[in-house]
Assembly symmetry: C2
Homo-oligomer: 349 residues x 2
């Protein structure tokens, strides 16, 4: 018993130390978040405001994507909000030139939509990163850039452990353009010493995510369907493994890398580290929401080519560099998400 | 002696068989060459006209690049010539829709210039491939696409044998955008069965190459400098190894893959297979041209980051798939190139 108590105390102290370290790093820092009204950007903005940063949010509020004014409800008076498109780089020059850290999240967010709008996907998910880096190279080369990439850069992983060194054979334009952005960031780090970190996110979900359609996060969409007591469609048996990461864990990862010197120049996986069967994710939603049902249908033929296989995420690099391991369970994350949408659903329909 | 004669006969028969196979494949085929007035494109056009193909050449004659009307001198009445930019894809619709094979060579060709014109490099070296594939997906999905990629997709190789599976960490925008095009081609092959082959070229040189400046092929530029009896500048000691491939060998490789069914969906190295010290390449030029001299200077500091290390090319995949191994020696290739420019220098200044 004594040992257990001692362990708990030790962990608490470490967490408090880390909280102090994060505050001491982020307090009064000028942080720019592109796509800052979106899911990840807005959750990060809330946390950064709490840590005392000067937060600037830029978002084009393109209705296709996740930007939502309500996402900064509660901190709207504490952030600079710029409604513009990051491709109009002249319009945000002053903020880019003065930023200490840029979180670059503005993106076309659906790997399915990418094929309907291939050039816009290239523009938003690749060209905008190049524009940003070119500006920083000339005007603010010590600015840190932290980029949200995706496991979709890998393509089919065939049940292998997903490592940062796994081969990159993307099966979608979305994945190709995320990969192109990764290559820009790594080249500008090597050739021009612009400090950047690439986080490859697995399957993200949580509060403030758009739930208007099924092309982005299925977790959010299914929570909405369950709340509306609808059938949730599963292709095949739903046995494919996915790594669902809750947004609070993601935000913690994105904060930690900014103050970890060893993170710069690196690609780092950011997942929950837990592999869950797709069908079990759906069952958890139905159990938590206490509504909705499952409908099994065969795989549509055009989905087979882009099915990525079972996902098992190696998080050892994240832990080694930042000391952080995600901890929110799927049930806990789904419960928090459900409670959020129950209270705020009218802002997300 | 008897054995040697027998061997020679055997080789001759194989070459004749292959010549017959190439003619039988290419005769009356509709071939579109983007960038067809450039170095590789025009040399291929000459060969294809001889093989009886219906050749269409498209080129924007951008003075930055290698397009040159004189390059199709002798076959100008046997090719369809379209002066336009491939980004105006509507203008070449009819040719794309009817092509049996597209050789996609139109490109920004200097990895040094890429950084001065990052968006144009992205446009020409990545976006144009996407436009082409999107058009083919909708209108001509069985058309073969053969793409000229570059060893620059790899970045630093550190003296390792350059294989098709080597890690891709490009150090230039040129290399990143060539890699992006590779990923497009592979994705459209996997997802939509558009048959494509990617050839990764090492250091190409030969007749019909532009020699206006030193930002493209140094071999051509140095031949010009030697012909003008100038100093040829070498950074450091010039001991870095390069793989110089003569254009006739390149053209043969590009022809062979089009009629090799096993080549589709593949990335294949195309080099000479011989590693030559940079300084020895320069000495060979000075010996062949019998003019010019060497000047050694220290490496400029900004070059160190993009120096790619010694190159040794693994050609086993090329040989296995096409049965072809390049055979033109550096001395022979430089002699042919020199004789060409001696007779035609006024068209290349």
């Amino acid at each position: 018993m004594w040992r257990n108590i001692s362990n708990i105390k030790k962990i608490d102290t470490k967490l408090i130390d880390k909280g102090v370290a994060l505050r001491s790093y982020f307090e009064d820092k000028r942080i720019l978040i592109t796509g800052g009204l979106g899911f990840l950007g807005s959750n990060l903005a809330h946390k950064l405001v709490n840590l005392g940063s000067e937060v600037t949010v830029i978002d084009n509020l393109n209705p296709r994507y996740g930007g939502n004014i309500f996402n900064i409800s509660g901190i709207e008076k504490k952030v600079n909000l710029i409604i513009n498109d990051i491709r109009n780089i002249e319009a945000i020059n002053a903020y880019l030139a003065n930023a200490d850290v840029i979180y670059h999240f503005a993106a076309q967010v659906s790997y399915i939509d990418a094929l309907d709008i291939p050039l816009e996907d290239q523009d938003l998910n690749a060209k905008s990163t190049l524009l940003l880096l070119e500006f920083l190279r000339k005007n603010n080369p010590s600015c840190k850039v932290i980029f949200s990439s995706s496991r979709m850069v890998l393509g089919k992983v065939e049940g292998e452990l997903m490592k940062e060194t796994s081969p990159t054979n993307p099966l979608s334009l979305y994945g190709i353009h995320k990969l192109t952005s990764e290559k820009y960031l790594q080249m500008y780090y090597k050739d021009f010493a612009i400090p950047s970190v690439i986080l490859r996110i697995t399957n993200p979900y949580g509060i403030r995510q758009q739930i208007k359609h099924n092309k982005y996060s299925l977790v959010g969409w299914f929570i909405r369907q369950a709340m509306e007591n609808k059938d949730i469609t599963i292709f095949g048996e739903g046995n494919q493994l996915r790594d669902y990461i809750y947004v609070d864990d993601m935000v913690e990862g994105f904060l930690r890398v900014a103050e970890s010197d060893n993170a710069f120049g690196e690609i780092i996986n950011l997942g929950s580290g837990v592999s869950t069967k797709f069908v079990d994710m759906v069952r958890t939603i139905i159990n938590v929401v206490e509504s909705g049902s499952i409908k099994f249908v065969p795989w549509p033929s055009n989905y087979e080519n882009i099915e990525t296989g079972d996902i098992k995420t190696d998080l050892s690099k994240l832990e080694k560099i930042t000391g952080f391991t995600p901890s929110v369970s799927l049930e806990e994350g789904i419960l928090k998400t459900y409670q959020y949408y129950k209270n705020n659903i009218k802002y997300y329909l």
